[in-house]
Amino acid sequence: MENYPQLVPLLILIPAIGAFFNLMWGSRLREEAAATIGIIASALTFVIALLLYAYLQGSGFEAAVVNPPFFDGWIRLVGIEIPWQMRVDTLSVTMLLFVTGVGTLIHVYAKGYMHGDSRFARFFAYLNMFLVFMIILVTGNNFLMLFVGWEGVGLCSFLLIGFWFDKVKGVGWRNSNAARKAMIVNRIGDFGLMMAIFLTFWTFGTLDFYKPGELAVPAGAHGEEAAHSEEAAVAEGEGEHAVTEEAAVVDEHAASDEPVYTDNEHIPTDQLGVFGKAQRYIAEELDVDLGPFSLPISTVITLITLFMLLGVAGKSAQIPLFVWLPDAMAGPTPVSALIHAATMVTSGVYLMVRSNVFFHEAEFTSLIVTIIGASTAIVAGMIALGQWDIKRVLAYSTVSQLGFMVAAVGIGAYGAAMFHLVTHAFFKALLFLGSGSVIHGVEHGHHLAHGHGHGGHDDHAHEEEAHAGAHDEHAHAEEDFDPQDMRNMGGLRRKMPVTYITYLIGTLALAGIFPFAGFWSKDEILADSWVAGFYDGKLSGFIALALLIVAAGFTAFYMWRQIVLVFHGEPRTAAAERAPESVPSMIIPLMVLGFFSVFIGFMNTPAGIGFDSIFGAHAFTDWLGHSVLHAHAGEFNVLIAGGALTIAIAAIFLANGIYSRARRTVEAGQDPLEIRNGVSTLWRVANARMYWDQTYSRFVEQPFNRASKFLADTLDWAFWHDYFHDTVLAKGFRTMGRILANPIDLGIIDGIVNGVGRLARWIGGFLRPIETGYVRTYAVTLLIGVVVVIVLLLLPLIQRG
């Protein structure tokens, strides 16, 4: 078991082979075969992730660092060494488990969902490729490997959002626009992350998170104790290396004058990774020399984290960069579930949790992080209230939930952030896959209802055919019918019972209803912000608490609105009337995810509420605590839990009341809130997505494009290229030439010209093929010009020599 970590390179290799195989030969394979390759590749990574989990359990949670064979180092410069190196610890294995687990389910689901698509195999290739990069992202042991994964998943996201780039009637163009938008907005974030990486390197001289043999979490130093030890270090050490080094590693017992050394103590500072060094530098209150200026270490860390936050805002869709994620729903639904809900978009949160040593130190950044996360949660939650597109509601919901996680990081609740990240991965993937099942069903129903020139509706062969045509003729269906518009649904609970039940579970989990998964994780975030606010007196705690509670209310409301509009009541269209339940390969993943959405929350139940003996108390946080220094278990707070639950239930009842009785309004294409006095304006603003996109288009995109046109056409071409060069320079040159020609023509040059004339004729003969004499003259003149200039300039030297 101790050599299981050596399997980590396989995690990357296996899906890479799957992707390569499907890319190269997939189009010649039957669907069955292509899907099997993809699914097996994905499933094997899950098995390896399980083995790694077993390894960590067996080794006392000791992190392992693995160098892949055949790849000795990556960027290796003089003084700069960035290896390909992977890290197996509780944090990366957590990510691995749900990435590969949810990933495999979604692969299975996609087999049914993508059936009949003309690029079926390529879809699986892209999914596998996504796994490759996501695994690089979470297992990389340095910031740059993380960055490789980071941009790599961005590429896969681009490919998959634009997967249907060729749909007719401009739909394909819209899809590819969404893909491009996602990548560009992410690049803005990547700019931040890259700056963070440069700063990190020039501050710490390495990009490795932890060096092999170094402990991320020194034994005994945990949670608040760690903070104390730093204070002690600061108090004791006076910038002297020897003193502080000792002081930095003592734990809470420092006060009792009996230092307890942890295992990193024997490692010299220059052999530590980024975070180990950061702790010592902080203890030493070191000044960092950054070329033009020198800054105290705390300021540098604030800068690093602020730049990092920009990257997080891009990838994890936070204000101000969240606008790409709703558009990303142009991709096939399994993609929305896997990449744009469960895994990729959470990598920003992963990055911050991985860098918890930094964020713990940077109080200012943490405040900004909280503000951004909490306002994203509430803004996106509000926008979700006003959307009709089933996937768009979920997209904004994802943005909102990511806001919860980010805010949790801001208040220092790294464990809670990760907890919510994991539970969210399950129930949001479930909801997306459920919505895919709904869309599929409605599309199907539409085909069945309209028959498309075919006879018997009920015969199976036809169903297959309609199914196959579903995507290719998507645009055809879209002319007058949008299968994603919730106004075209209704009453689906009887048509699609499994989808309904699982969707309901997902909704309750997301809304935070006891005992579903979301209840536990959301509650922990709220409880932690309570602690941060009232006990630690942090402003960020109050901000998070106030905004997130409201956002939680929104969540329950818009989710129940969706349930009512989609599943309850009576079908509002013929398509909804005839929508069939989806195929088993789609239903089974829903059931599995449904199971987890109910029970996954129990892995981190708080202590002292009666579950300790069954599930253990905050087991997940403890597990994370082996690699996340500042992870600490939240305390259960009855007031918060009860309050949040009440709000969620109230919101559900409210939504139920409003939307159950609004059949006629919805059929008329309106939302009951839209026509209700007092909230109608607010609803319209939410429906217009708060004008974020318009604002960006007006104030960023259009000025950028105009400036680009101006630079290119006016400044570069009309002025610099045409006017300055062709008019000013060329004319000036010609004029000067005329003036100079007068005396020179009289004789001096004549001789030389005559002399080389013969040479010119010879070369001219050689170049006779050139069509015009004009060309030849020019060319020969130029050629001779060079020779003459060189000779003239060399002449004095030769004579002197």
């Binding site: 890319l23 790849f71 060729d166 163009w173 290119a712 093929p769 069509e771 060079v786 060189i790």
Partner: protein, 514 residues
């Protein structure tokens, strides 16, 4: 110093001329084509042997060959390689077979004929380019440097697009005008040192035997530096001296563009790395911030202007200004990381932008237009071509895992850690990665994505095996350098360390100037 044996460097240099001579006697079109291609392949293999025999741990010149040449002026035929030149020689010999092979199916060659002259000029060009990279005598370098203009002039002037003469002459005059200042500076230095051999001059500078006075940004050394700088800056081109570039690229035949972007522009950056900075270290350090500002303007301006283009080739041409801005920035960071990144980025740019021009050429052969609007949805019609194009586009955009990223990252890393440049330079230069995504993805989307809107695009011929043979090495190298750049860095490591170490003392001395 006199070497009697024949160095492999000399062999590599003169192999194209052997092919050139053989071509003189051939008449059959097929024979001409394949002889030219064969020559370039043999040269490539020979240059790989050069790499195999190269000792990366040794900073100095290797495989030296020295012949007399104009002893009256102190010039000699001094050929050798070191870490700076080796990779560029290999880049040249790598690009040439691709350029030649891509010409086999070029429409314009069938239309205008003169195939023999075309391939002879190609080999002549290869000879001159290799010569410029291996010459270590200022005069000999200058002659090779200038001589590259001649075949290129004809390639553009004869086989170019509608406006070819204008572009050819502009290209020629512009570069020539720039290099006259450089020639004056060369003559001054040679006169002062009594030799034109750069290794000798370097020794004299290091030992204090040759002092080129420097006391500020307007001193003799600065003027000499600027003479070199302007000569090379036109070639790179550094903003705002880029006006010839879009014309030359748009008008040049595909192979011409590939060579121009792939290798010729590198003569400028190579010249900066090899001559302008090491020969005039104090002036270079003093002027570095100014140069870096120009480079950053170039990065941003080139990208921004690129985005507004409606002609694919022009878009790619402007992107070169942006990319080479990174190279210049890296060199003037005066750090090993920046220098190493810059040299790798020269190679990367040759691969990715050369690759982009190849792609544009393939599209042009099929549609006879370069207008962005004429395309759309090509990925659906030519899926493999679309996939390969995507990789090359991403490589040019600097996606991690591909070559472009490694170069850009190390350059920016060097810039950030530089004592001369530092944080703000890195900050603004890094903005370039956002802009690169904007214009490259715009191009890719316009050409390859969306529905097929022009019916002509539905009947595009699939890729010919020769086109595969051209594209696959490019893609493969992009991936190899992206994942394992270590051997490339190792090749130049010792030389760059040596060069930078010699500049380092001047960074502090210049900083202490009033």
């Amino acid at each position: 110093m006199e070497n009697t044996g024949l160095s492999l460097v000399t062999v590599v240099l003169f192999l194209p001329m052997v092919g050139f001579t053989i071509l003189l006697f051939l008449r059959n079109s097929e024979q001409i084509k394949w002889t030219a291609f064969g020559t370039s392949i043999v040269t490539f293999v020979a240059s790989l042997l050069l790499w195999a025999g190269f000792d990366g741990n040794q900073p100095g010149l290797q495989m030296v060959q020295q012949w007399e040449f104009l002893p009256q002026v102190g010039a000699s035929f001094y050929l050798a390689i070191d870490g700076l030149s080796l990779l560029l020689v290999i880049l040249t010999t790598f690009i040439m077979p691709l350029a030649i092979l891509s010409s086999f199916r070029a429409h314009v060659l069938h239309e205008r004929g003169r195939e023999k002259l075309y391939y002879m000029l190609m080999l002549l060009l290869e000879w001159a380019m290799i010569g410029a990279f291996v010459a270590h005598d200022l005069i000999v370098f200058f002659i090779f440097f200038e001589f590259t203009l001649v075949p290129m002039f004809f390639l553009i002037g004869i086989w170019g697009a509608e406006n070819r003469m204008y572009a050819a002459i502009k290209f020629y005059l512009y570069t020539l005008a720039g290099s006259i200042l450089m020639l004056l500076a060369i003559l001054y230095v040679g006169n002062a040192a009594g030799t034109f051999s750069t290794p000798a001059i370097m020794v004299m500078i290091q030992s204090g035997e040759l002092v080129i006075p420097f006391d500020g940004i307007f001193s003799p050394q600065s003027f000499l530096f600027l003479g070199f700088f302007i000569g090379f800056a036109v070639k790179v081109p550094i903003w705002p001296l880029h006006s010839w570039l879009p014309d030359a690229h748009v008008q040049a035949p595909t192979a011409g563009s590939v060579i121009l972007a792939g290798v010729l522009l590198k003569l400028g950056t190579y010249g900066l790395a090899r001559f302008a900075i090491p020969l005039f270290p104090e002036a270079a350090v003093a002027w570095a911030p100014v140069v870096a500002v120009l480079a950053i303007i170039g990065i941003i301006y080139g990208a921004w202007v690129s985005y507004a283009q409606t002609d694919v080739k022009k878009l790619v041409a402007y992107s070169s200004i942006s990319h080479l801005g990174f190279v210049v920035l890296g060199l003037f960071s005066m750090t090993t990381a920046g220098y190493q990144g810059a040299i790798l980025q020269m190679v990367n740019h040759g691969i990715s932008t050369g690759g982009l021009f190849l792609l544009v050429g393939m599209l042009y052969e099929r549609r006879h237009t370069k207008a962005l609007d004429a395309f759309g949805g090509i990925w659906k019609v030519m899926p493999i071509f679309g996939g390969l194009s995507l990789i090359i586009t991403l490589s040019s955009m600097g996606l991690p895992g591909l070559n472009g990223f490694v170069g850009e990252f190390t350059i920016l890393m060097g810039t950030f850690g530089s004592d001369v440049l530092g944080f703000f330079f890195a900050l603004f230069a890094t903005l370039g990665i956002i802009l690169a995504a904007i214009y490259m993805l715009y191009m890719f989307q316009k050409v390859f994505m969306g529905d097929v809107t022009h019916d002509e695009n539905n009947h595009l011929e699939p890729l010919h095996w020769q086109e595969y043979a051209v594209l696959i090495p490019v893609v493969a190298l992009a991936i190899i350098i992206g994942i394992q750049p270590a051997p490339f860095f190792a090749t130049m490591g010792a030389t760059v360390t040596d060069v930078v170490a010699k500049i380092a003392p001047f960074i502090t001395s210049v900083a202490q100037l009033p």
